[in-house]
Subunit: 120 residues, 2 copies
């Protein structure tokens, strides 16, 4: 169920290399890589690296009256990463090698969030 | 010159409360607030809080083969913040109270970057 959701996010986001469900403690629950991305990207390391920083950003935003953080997008020269909090413990992220459809990825994370959370 | 650029970013991004030019050391160079945002948002504190985290994200991304970070977007319930690195020392950010035109803000930061950098 979780795997199907992640697969759907990857398949429906052009340029997506993979999607991952992870705890803010940096422990991966499940991931799905695009066929051509296996071996080419290290999705788990990327998500793990961002898990701590994402949590810090959430704390900072709450202290700053920005309200609860919905999603964080980091656009890099070669890869971009969008992540969305599912709860205080888990988040889902998608890694893209082409940022053209970042918005689509962000939208799919949002729409998949309730179902992912229910399946956790 | 710098002020005009920041003003242009704010005026052309619907929902923008202000734009700021800041060093990664958290020291503000210049800011421009929308007329209705003065007193309502604390742009400098928000940017300062993110300056350190933004720098950390850049370091992490470089180590992860994401390449140089172009921009970072944090979307919160009430406010969103987009920032873009201008150099190793400075970044420009825009704070929005309505995220509908986040993409427009991101685009304007990108197009204004060369001129802002030249005027620094």
């Amino acid at each position: 169920m979780l795997g199907d959701q992640l697969k759907k996010i990857v398949e429906n986001t052009p340029g997506a290399a993979g999607a991952i469900l992870m705890g803010f403690d940096g422990i991966a629950i499940m991931q799905h890589l695009a066929d051509d991305a296996a071996g080419a990207v290290d999705l788990e390391s990327t998500a793990m690296e961002f898990s701590f920083r994402f949590m810090e950003l959430r704390r900072a935003a709450a202290a700053l009256d920005m309200g609860e953080v919905q999603d964080v997008t980091v656009r890099g020269e070669r890869q971009s990463f969008v992540c969305r909090a599912l709860s205080d413990e888990y988040f889902v992220g998608v890694l893209l090698t082409d940022p053209s459809f970042l918005g689509k990825g962000r939208f799919l994370l949002r729409t998949a969030a309730p179902e992912l959370l229910a399946d956790l």
